[in-house]
């Protein structure tokens, strides 16, 4: 039977069509395999839960300010739970969401690999995150004292880690298998490359962490045993080198934001990929789980070595901005400061190494406070990077240019908060030597202010995203990479049918310059 282009009336109202009703909004939301929808959900909830976790961290600061005025015996539990929640309920899903939404677009792909798995990843993560948050409130989470709540915290944390791993599999597979014709792995945009590297490292790191939650469950551990299991088995996630893993996408976001702002290509994208790769190697921390791994030559090498790729990236960014005429935007400021915050985390690692090497003779800074400082710097960097990504790709993600008041307000809040929180904890560890409690109220105040500013910044970024469609019209973005050829806002299921063979890392710039046919 020949099929005409226009369906006849009888075809259009066939029995099958009449029986098929349109899915409701809730059905669309829950059942969507559209990578942009899943990514947006991850980003939105990531901002919200990061702000909630930071608020909890700020509360522990207020408690110190008031000389243990209202938290009783729970400051340690709440501070540790807040940091774990900040990582796995906040920044990791935030950056994973950015990758899920943007990476397929950067590759010109109509979908993410395994879209149903990506959907499963989000909903499992959201449900488990909710349970983990409830367990924190019930004196569980991590280091909790209540038996049932502590067990609930362990199980839900394990489920969160499994869900995030599943999302990472989808992202990594997309980069490997969904590239268009001609696009070598060496030519994928910065975020795509960083997401691939990050996903691979996350799988190994989170896999190792999952093993400890399994042990907690199989061993039917009570609160005390679970607390020891966390300190000895999962504490390594909150210090270098492993903590740096959670900010790998920040490097890719900075690369892409700077390229778009300067409007010119990086001279050596392969060198940038090497920088990200070196950072990832030095962020691999599953080997340093046991306390005996600290203060070894290899650990010290990792602690100092991570500085090299961070400085390398800062140099490349500076060079690119110097040679181009960059358009200064909130996203550009946030992405540059996020890399600077990573430098703060690296400096904290130096202090940690020196302190451990000179223990008893040089200075005895608190390892726990130093680890918190490193977590704060990395989490701050990741939050700034996530906000930079949300604003930079705002037309694609949210349908507006991202130039609202809330968007601009995000910058000072996050920059001040990220800098203040990490620096305060670093200074505290150096001032309060050998377990002293010097000026603990002042440090409590500064921690509360820093975490509070970061929380407000996260909320501000969320509001900017939600209200982006009402933003005043801005200049269309002259992007260099494929994602900018998609309609705004981007949706899943749309490919690039007229895509020519990719011949460089910057196909849209090639098209504008008429150089796409160059070998």
């Amino acid at each position: 039977m020949a099929l005409t282009e226009t369906r006849s009336d009888t075809d259009a109202t066939s029995a099958g069509d009449r029986a098929r009703r349109a899915p409701s909004a809730v059905e669309q939301l829950i059942g969507s395999g559209d990578h942009t929808s899943i990514g947006r959900l991850f980003i939105g909830f990531g901002f919200a839960l990061a702000s909630l976790s930071l608020t909890l961290w700020a509360l522990t600061g207020v408690d110190a300010l008031t000389d243990n005025g209202f938290l009783g015996s729970r400051p340690a539990q709440l501070a540790a739970s807040a940091q774990v929640a900040l990582l796995f309920l906040g920044i990791v899903p935030l950056l994973l969401g950015v990758a899920i939404a943007v990476v397929p677009l950067q590759l010109g792909s109509p979908s993410i690999a395994f879209p149903r798995a990506a959907t499963l990843s989000f909903w499992t993560w959201l449900l488990s995150s909710g349970i983990f948050a409830v367990s924190i409130a019930l004196d569980g989470g991590v280091l909790g004292g209540d038996e049932t709540a502590a067990k609930l915290g362990n199980v839900s944390l394990g489920a969160v880690l499994v869900a995030l791993s599943l999302g990472a599999v989808c992202v990594a597979t997309t980069v490997m298998a969904h590239r268009p014709l001609g696009m070598r792995l060496a030519w994928v945009p910065g975020l795509s490359w960083a997401s691939l590297v990050s996903a691979a490292l996350l799988l190994v790191t989170l896999g190792s962490a999952i093993a400890h939650t399994v042990l907690g469950q199989v061993g039917r551990m009570g609160p005390a045993a679970l607390a020891t299991n966390f300190t000895d088995g999962l504490g390594w996630l909150l210090r270098g080198p492993a903590v740096f893993v959670f900010a790998i996408p920040v490097l890719g976001i900075a690369i892409d934001v700077v390229v778009t702002a300067s409007g010119r290509r990086f001279a050596h994208t392969d060198v940038l990929q090497l920088i990200v790769g070196l950072y990832a190697i030095l962020a691999f921390g599953a080997w340093a789980q046991l306390p005996s791994a600290l203060n070894t030559a290899l650990w010290t090498l990792f602690a100092f070595g991570i500085t090299v790729p961070i400085l390398g990236l800062l140099g490349a960014i500076g060079d690119s901005l110097r040679q181009g005429k960059p358009v200064v935007s909130p996203a550009l400021i946030l992405s540059i400061v996020s890399v600077l915050l990573l430098m703060g985390a690296a400096v904290t690692g130096w202090v940690q190494s020196l302190s451990l090497a000179g223990q008893g003779t040089l200075f005895g800074a608190s390892p726990a406070t130093l680890a918190s400082a490193q977590t704060a710097f990395v989490a701050g960097a990741a939050l700034l990077g996530g906000a930079a990504a949300s604003l930079h790709w705002s037309p694609l993600l949210w349908g507006g240019p991202g130039n609202s008041v809330e968007g601009r307000l995000t910058v000072p809040l996050l920059v001040l908060g990220g800098g203040l929180l990490g620096t305060t904890l670093l200074v505290q560890s150096v001032v309060q030597l050998d377990g002293e409690t010097t000026a603990f109220q002042i440090f409590g105040l500064l921690v509360a202010v820093g975490a509070g500013l970061l929380a407000l910044g996260g909320l501000s970024a969320l509001v900017a995203a939600m209200r982006a469609t009402e933003d005043p019209a801005g200049e269309p973005v002259q992007g260099l990479t494929l994602e900018w050829s998609f309609p705004n806002p981007a949706g899943g299921g749309i490919g690039l049918p007229e895509l020519a063979r990719v011949t460089s890392p910057y196909p849209l710039l090639d098209a504008r310059e008429g150089t796409e046919d160059k070998p």
Binding site: A200, L203, V214
Partner: protein, 190 residues
């Protein structure tokens, strides 16, 4: 009107399932590597008291290792056969691999009953975390192979698109490799 039959344009082969399986396998192996590492650390700390109350025979673990070693050959046979559109041998190889996997599961359960390790004794949680983890990997691999076998029966795989069988093989080999480590770490070293 007759139209010339044009050849379909050559597209790069999408190895989505193989890459996805490889990444997921890396995560699972990280879980098992950590568990085995902690088992060895605890075993080292336990010294002569480790499993002093239990008798763990070596016959079953050795046979399990041999069973999985044979299954590696049959799994590779399936990959080889589908790549040459030899469907009969593909089904035969997948079936034998599943049979060997079932034999492994059977021997594992028999061994657990023989060893009589309780979860309450100090060695219990780590012993079961490691050995049951390895067993679950094999069971997951069997489910994966069975699903791919059904898809092969449905004609979804051929020499042009053998990814499903190859992906199942990647996970299966990883399961066998993990058991090889468990065999040495738990049963040989005791």
């Amino acid at each position: 009107m007759a139209t010339a039959a044009l050849p379909a344009p050559l597209q790069p082969r999408r190895r989505e399932l193989i890459f996805g399986t490889a990444f997921a396998t890396a995560g699972v192996v990280a879980v098992m590597a950590t568990l085995i590492g902690y088992y060895l650390a605890a075993r080292n700390a336990g010294g002569a008291d480790w499993f002093s109350a239990n008798t763990i025979p070596l016959t079953q673990p050795n046979m399990q290792a041999l069973t999985l070693a044979m299954s590696v050959v049959t799994m590779q046979w399936a990959v080889y056969a589908i790549a040459r559109d030899d469907r009969t041998h593909t089904y035969l190889a997948l079936g034998i691999t599943l049979l060997l996997g079932a034999a492994f599961v059977n021997q594992s359960i028999f061994l657990f009953k023989q060893a009589a390790v309780t979860i309450e004794q100090p060695e219990g949680p780590l012993f079961y975390a490691v050995t049951v983890g390895s067993l679950l990997m094999v069971v997951a691999g069997m489910i994966f192979i069975a699903l791919m076998a059904f898809r092969a029966l449905g004609g979804q795989f051929s020499s042009r698109q053998p990814d499903g069988i190859a992906a199942a093989a990647v996970f299966w080999y990883a399961s066998c490799a993990v058991y090889a480590v468990v065999w040495v770490a738990v049963y040989i070293m005791k």
